[in-house]
């Protein structure tokens, strides 16, 4: 590599600007990866930090900034490269605040925030509060908002189950939704909240206790030409015995009454036994009143209406749930499986960013009797101190490279999740890591294959075709659905053991 003789140092100061350091680090590391960028600094312009910048020859001589200003410094090979990098970084830093035409309120306290929201601009006051603070404090904030008649999207996790039950009862009594806790995905009146793919508006109402499960089903419906009326998240514990499906029941009430909803799909892990009986009979009731229902309960045996559950279609995979729902809405979703390749020796390793996609993979491989190790890299044990791998794909890239040196691994399963909230370019880090891992494996004469599916739609901001091309160019085998990718792997393993 030639290192250019001269470099330029450019900076940008964002006055009185705060950004969570996790977000800041993600943007800094993305900026540093740009072609022609040598080094990046992103710090509050305190005297000590200016000293640190000076020590590493990164302090702009004419820097005019105070301690409460964020300074972004780029050393690059040319003036233009530096300017482009700074533009991109600034766009990334300010994107959250300026997206859409909605003016941001900056309340100092929860009460101020609730009052500002309710006052609105006189025409359409806010009717939903998104809560994303430490779980210990979320219930206090949520309760105030619920008592003021706001729907809740509670992104926070680590909320005690007793609080969840209390708040959900309070919400139902007040006629508002409590989506969460730990709810990352919802689409209300066409507005995506949290992680959501850009799907068509349509007639299918969704109630989901899982984030990426809801994303996979909604994007497959979109692929089949079927739109979504509402996607109501209820939090992963809603159908547990403790919570008893309080919010699922309320969401079903709303969707049953909603004129824009003609069919309903519930996406969840299997409900606890006590909850399942009541829920299935509730779903049968809805179906008998003319809105067909699919219960997509991961890992459950498939069942059609005329057998165990009259009126309700039960599917045990996300793909199965999407196909059955599309069918009820008058569309067919045809999934073409991949042709088999020459069997790969070695075990199966799954490196997933989507928790429910990882669960679906485990279920299908277990049914096929394939030994495997499937990791959900979004799980707490992997995310401590860093962003979720759907936001920052670097954590998974490291795991992929590690697997390149693990001689027991033959085939690696991956998911790439697009949509709002997800990384702007999740495919590139995967592709780079795949190429590095493969060349490592091949250097010792080992074959290593990668199989993936992209959970996205044609309208997603990342550009699904571009993302797929990046993966394909790196030699990743791409399947249409997560389930199809897993079936392909299962078939390979069966072949590998037979040979």
């Amino acid at each position: 590599m030639n290192s250019p003789k001269t470099t330029v140092l450019s900076s940008r100061v964002l006055r009185h600007f705060y950004r969570d350091s996790v977000a800041l680090m993600a943007i800094a590391s993305a900026t540093e990866k740009r072609e022609g960028v040598i080094r990046v600094g992103a710090v509050m312009a305190t005297p000590a930090n200016r000293g640190i910048l000076a020590d590493s020859d990164m302090l702009p001589p004419d820097l005019n900034a105070e301690s409460d200003d964020l300074v972004f410094v780029v050393r690059a090979e040319s003036e233009d490269t530096a300017k482009e990098a700074l533009d991109a970084a600034e766009a990334g830093l300010t994107a959250v605040e300026t997206s859409g035409a909605i003016e941001e309120q900056r309340p100092g306290t929860v009460d101020e925030g609730v009052h500002a929201a309710l006052a609105g601009d006189g025409e359409s006051p806010a009717n939903l509060a998104a809560i994303s603070i430490a779980g210990t404090y979320a219930p206090i904030v949520a309760e105030r908002a619920i008592r003021n008649g706001l729907h809740i999207l509670c992104f926070s996790d680590n909320v005690a189950v007793e609080d969840e039950v209390r708040l959900k009862k309070l919400a139902v009594a007040g006629g508002v939704l409590f989506m969460g806790p730990d709810c990352g995905t919802a689409i209300i009146d066409g507005i995506p909240l949290g992680f959501a793919n850009v799907v068509k508006q349509g007639k299918v109402g969704m109630v989901a206790a899982s984030g990426t499960g809801a994303q996979e089903v909604s994007r497959l419906l979109d692929l089949a030409g079927v739109g979504v009326s509402q996607l109501i998240g209820v939090g992963g514990r809603d159908l547990s015995a403790d919570v008893g499906g309080i919010m699922t029941g309320f969401a079903l009430d709303l969707l049953e009454r909603d004129e824009g909803t003609e069919a309903i799909v519930v996406v969840s892990k299997p409900p606890s036994t006590d909850v399942a009986t009541a829920l299935i009979s509730r779903l049968e009731g809805i179906a008998s009143h003319g809105k067909p229902v699919v219960a997509c309960f991961l890992g459950m045996d498939d069942a059609d209406p005329d057998s165990v559950t009259p009126g309700v279609v039960v599917r045990g995979t996300l793909e199965g749930g999407a196909i059955a729902t599309a069918h009820l809405a008058g569309h067919e979703l045809a999934v073409t499986d991949l042709d088999p390749i020459e069997p790969v020796p070695g075990r199966v390793l799954g490196l997933f960013t989507g928790g429910t996609l990882a669960s679906e993979a485990k279920i299908i491989l277990k049914r096929a009797g394939v030994d495997c190790e499937i990791l959900d890299l979004g799980d707490d044990q992997y995310t401590a101190g860093r962003p979720h791998p759907m936001i920052d794909p670097e954590a998974r890239a490291d795991k992929i490279i590690e697997a390149g040196a693990d001689s027991s691994v033959g085939i690696i399963l991956l998911d790439v999740v697009l949509g709002h909230g997800a990384s702007r370019d999740p495919a590139t880090p995967v592709a780079e890591a795949v190429m590095a891992a493969r060349s490592e494996a091949e250097s010792v004469g080992r074959r290593l294959e990668f199989v993936a599916s992209v959970c996205g739609t044609a309208a997603d901001p990342q550009g699904i075709e571009r993302q797929r091309t990046i993966l394909r160019d790196a030699g990743v085998i791409l399947a249409a659905t997560n389930a199809s990718a897993v079936r392909f792997v299962a078939a390979q393993q069966a072949g590998a053991h037979a040979s």
Partner: protein, 122 residues
């Protein structure tokens, strides 16, 4: 030392400040209030050299007021002291803040143990 620590490092509460909050928390835990006030007097002149948010945390820490996460970290350390669990909890707070706090806390702990072993040897 304070001149290069206060306001240094990434984040809205720069790492250096988090370490100092950790040290103040450690001194409070051991009841070393005299040391707290000595350190606090030295910190005050440097307060304008950091961010508003961090200044607030430092001021509160000098008065013995700490966030719940600091209390949790102290409890974990004082409890069964499982180092993995402690580190895991610490790394959940912010990008680096939790670990920075832990560095401050542990440095007080280490200093205190050194002093005690010298005392008992004497």
């Amino acid at each position: 030392m304070l001149s290069v620590t206060i306001g240094a490092g990434p984040g809205t509460t720069p790492s250096g400040d988090d370490v100092i909050v950790g040290i103040l928390a450690g001194l409070h835990v051991f009841g070393l209030l005299n040391e707290v006030s000595i350190l606090a007097r030295q910190i005050v002149p440097f307060l304008p050299r950091t961010t508003v948010a961090s200044r607030h945390y430092l001021k509160a820490a000098m008065q013995g007021r700490f966030g719940q996460h600091v209390h949790d970290l102290v409890d974990t350390l004082a409890g069964d002291g499982d180092p993995d669990l402690t580190l895991q909890r610490a790394s959940k707070w912010g990008a680096t803040s939790g670990v920075d706090l832990l560095v401050g806390l542990v440095s007080v702990l280490a200093a205190s143990m050194n002093t005690r072993s010298v005392e008992s040897a004497a």
